[in-house]
Symmetry: C2
Subunit: 459 residues, 2 copies
């Protein structure tokens, strides 16, 4: 998941008032959709098809980092399955993506001797020399604290010991850690993993270097290892560490956005866009981030086909490539379809997991919000009747911005999500059949109404 | 923790009825101990000294596998601290211990390509060739299932996919996995980690080879990886794995049991023995297994000294070496003190963590149990008034058996304990200041009464 952009969405959801629909009587115009929506939701929630598809997808194509063979296989496998599902216009749209490779990596406390540290190099980190960098550790608890101790940072490995509050707030220390430490002459940087709790669990995610500053090796370490180092230094004990990273970029690789559609029966040129990202980090199996988003948006099309529902507008599914470390799939889509962005009447993204309690977030005009609040009332049976603010996402963002497209996001519970987000523990075991079925039901229901109603959703 | 022997204790606790004391009026003879017990318990529970000592102990001497420098340093450091605490007769008693080294290890699914598997070699495993062993995986769900599929095991890597029920039941698949698979010609064996849940967490622990059977490499893998392999094969997908282990034994190393005492003022030859083990596995920091046992038994002596309490009998603390992969410390103690085993009037071990809800277990004669039930009533203020059955432990077991010594165990909650037992996540973060303080209070209180009362505890 692309942190800054996308998590602002969650912050908005938390801070802004919810648009409540259940106090309103369900408007009569929705009666035309009630039966089909009920059929879609029943088909989704009475089956474990979505969970099983996610399990098979992640079992076969575990970690899917951009440039990897796994990602290429995942795209090819999904295209075949989409064709078998009867989806239309299944095709790939080539995108050149970065090819960063983690390689061998480790961290250890060498004085006091000798203790392994649970770590993951941050995505995009440079390599250390083969023998690593070895230096005294300087723990700091904020950017301000680092600034106050700037004179101590030279030649050291800076450790950002920042307790997790929420993702959008804490992730800043991951993305900008390297530039913050490099400006004061640090030789490496570590961040306490961005997550609330864990079992000695390290979280990866991208680090961003700044032009004009040295690129120093950057890694995340578990909160337990962070605590250990902080306790040792608080007792006056000098802590010396060795950090080994091997991260490097190989030449860009051709990847692709995977597209499938149900062509609209009356207004095929008007697009209801569903999106998720098919790439993942190179640890775990990318089940929650974002295999599950791929499956639940895909399910909307599969279920319509299965139930013989042919919408007025075209429903287009795009499984974007390279969200995690480049967002090149999103950019490529916007480049390709920017001139017809106005034809996109609605865009929905699922890239926040599906854990309960989930919500739907929507961003659009006052008129569109009022309409979507009414549509939301159809989702009351699955507990998602209240549509809040906070639509959008990293992958649908660029096209939505060009076309001023109303956007929606499926937002799983954040607290549990960030326990295993970007870790080896992001596997299908974290996701229940109920949660994935509910998400598929919600996406299918909303998609059907927006694609079918006579007038396009107002901007 | 030594599985079979020690966990039988827990099974007994679960199955046998609790000796309830709270319905009885507290007998008058205890009045003589009430004030001192209250002082000890207050001193323990009004301070975070024990937690801080455990943190410092594990921060400095993280993993303490037998034969490691960390273990030697932990023993030397503890001896110095014991002297500083004013404990008496602080000394080490040499014990030769095995020196198994894990080395480089890994597991991966190579077909379908290519997926890292979260693993830990089992303690004592032999090495594979440097390039590993590569073979098709045969998942089985029990010893009976393996037997039924014996013809398929030859040349394969057998995977025991046995869901966790409780430790004593499930651990059998870890300890005897290698011999079970080797008898049918398997080239390697994997076990689903012995624990209820995790975050892609592998659990180590010892594996036992059988004479006359090939010694095959043995490792534990996470439940998520187990599920993945089982799902793939259930769908008819051939799964091929590569397993690399480097486990090997170097020559035995001299280690030691660490002994400290408060000498009895009237009956110094009568011993109240407190025990825990100072070694650990080589992952995590051995905080719950069994650093916390060392600290809470040690606290009993430190608190008596601090409060000026000089018991009638000698209280002897032994931090045993090499419990995890040899139990040589326990054997050495029994060898050394076997002739005076009858002088041991009571032995208490803490090697089951201290997580709430904890209980005290006792094993002894009917008369001794009745007396201990009365003593237990003094612990009602800290919630440990009911003494159940199930005393003993791997380290006090040998001497207790020789001398028919009444035994007690401090038994932390097992469900949470086995989430991180023998994993990298066994760190001080898993233990609360309240739980460790309560354990120290309980051990100190019981020890004081048993060491002070005029007549020795009946056998």
């Amino acid at each position: 998941m692309r942190a800054v952009r996308w998590l602002l969405v969650i912050a908005v959801v938390v801070l802004a008032p919810t648009v409540r629909s259940h106090a309103q009587s369900t408007p009569g115009w929705l009666n035309a959709y009630r039966e089909d929506v009920a059929r879609l939701m029943h088909a989704a929630t009475s089956s474990d098809f979505a969970w099983k598809r996610l399990a098979e997808f992640t079992d076969l194509h575990g970690a899917r980092l951009s440039g990897s063979d796994n990602l290429a296989r995942a795209i090819a496998w999904s295209a075949e399955k989409m064709k078998a599902d009867g989806l239309e216009n299944v095709h790939t749209e080539p995108v050149m993506v970065p090819h960063w490779i983690r390689g061998r990596e480790s961290a250890e406390i060498v004085d006091p001797p000798i203790h392994d540290v649970a770590m993951l190099g941050l995505g995009g980190t440079v390599a250390t020399p083969p023998e690593g960098v070895e230096a005294e550790v300087l723990p700091v608890n904020s950017f301000e604290d680092l600034q106050a101790r700037a004179a101590d940072a030279r030649g050291r490995i800076v450790l950002f010991n920042v307790p997790y509050t929420n993702y959008s707030e804490t992730v800043t220390y991951r993305t900008t850690s390297a530039r913050a430490a490099a400006q004061y002459g640090a030789v490496g940087v570590l961040v306490r993993s961005v997550g609330p709790i864990g079992l000695r669990t390290a979280h990866t995610g991208s680090v961003q270097y700044a032009p004009g500053l040295p690129q120093i090796p950057a890694a995340s370490i578990s909160l337990e290892d962070t605590n250990r180092i902080v306790r040792l230094t608080a007792r006056g004990r000098y802590v010396r560490m060795r950090l080994v990273t091997s991260g490097h970029y190989e030449p860009d690789v051709e990847s692709a956005n995977l597209v499938a559609e149900i062509r609209g029966r009356e207004k095929p040129e008007e697009i209801v866009l569903l999106g998720a990202h098919i790439d993942s980090w190179d640890v775990g199996t990318g089940a929650a981030d974002d295999g599950v988003g791929c499956v639940v948006t895909w399910e909307a099309l599969r279920l319509m086909k299965k139930l013989g529902l042919h919408p007025r507008r075209t429903v287009r599914l795009v499984l974007f490539t390279n969200e995690e470390n480049g967002v090149r799939g999103a950019t490529a889509y916007a480049d390709r379809y920017g001139e017809t962005a106005n034809n996109h009447v609605f865009a929905l993204e699922s890239d926040s997991g599906v854990l309960s309690p989930a919500t739907l977030g929507f961003s659009g005009s006052v008129a569109a919000r009022a309409l979507m609040a009414q549509v939301g009332s159809l989702l009351t049976p699955i507990g998602l009747g209240d549509i809040g603010p906070g639509g959008g996402g990293a992958d649908i963002g660029p096209i939505a911005q060009i076309g001023n497209v109303p956007t929606m996001a499926y937002l799983g519970d954040a607290t549990r999500f960030f326990v295993f987000h970007h870790t080896a523990a992001d596997t299908v075991e974290r996701i229940s059949t109920e949660d994935i079925a509910r998400a598929a039901a919600a996406v299918a229901a909303v998609t059907w109404v927006v694609a079918e109603m006579p007038e396009r959703l107002p901007r």
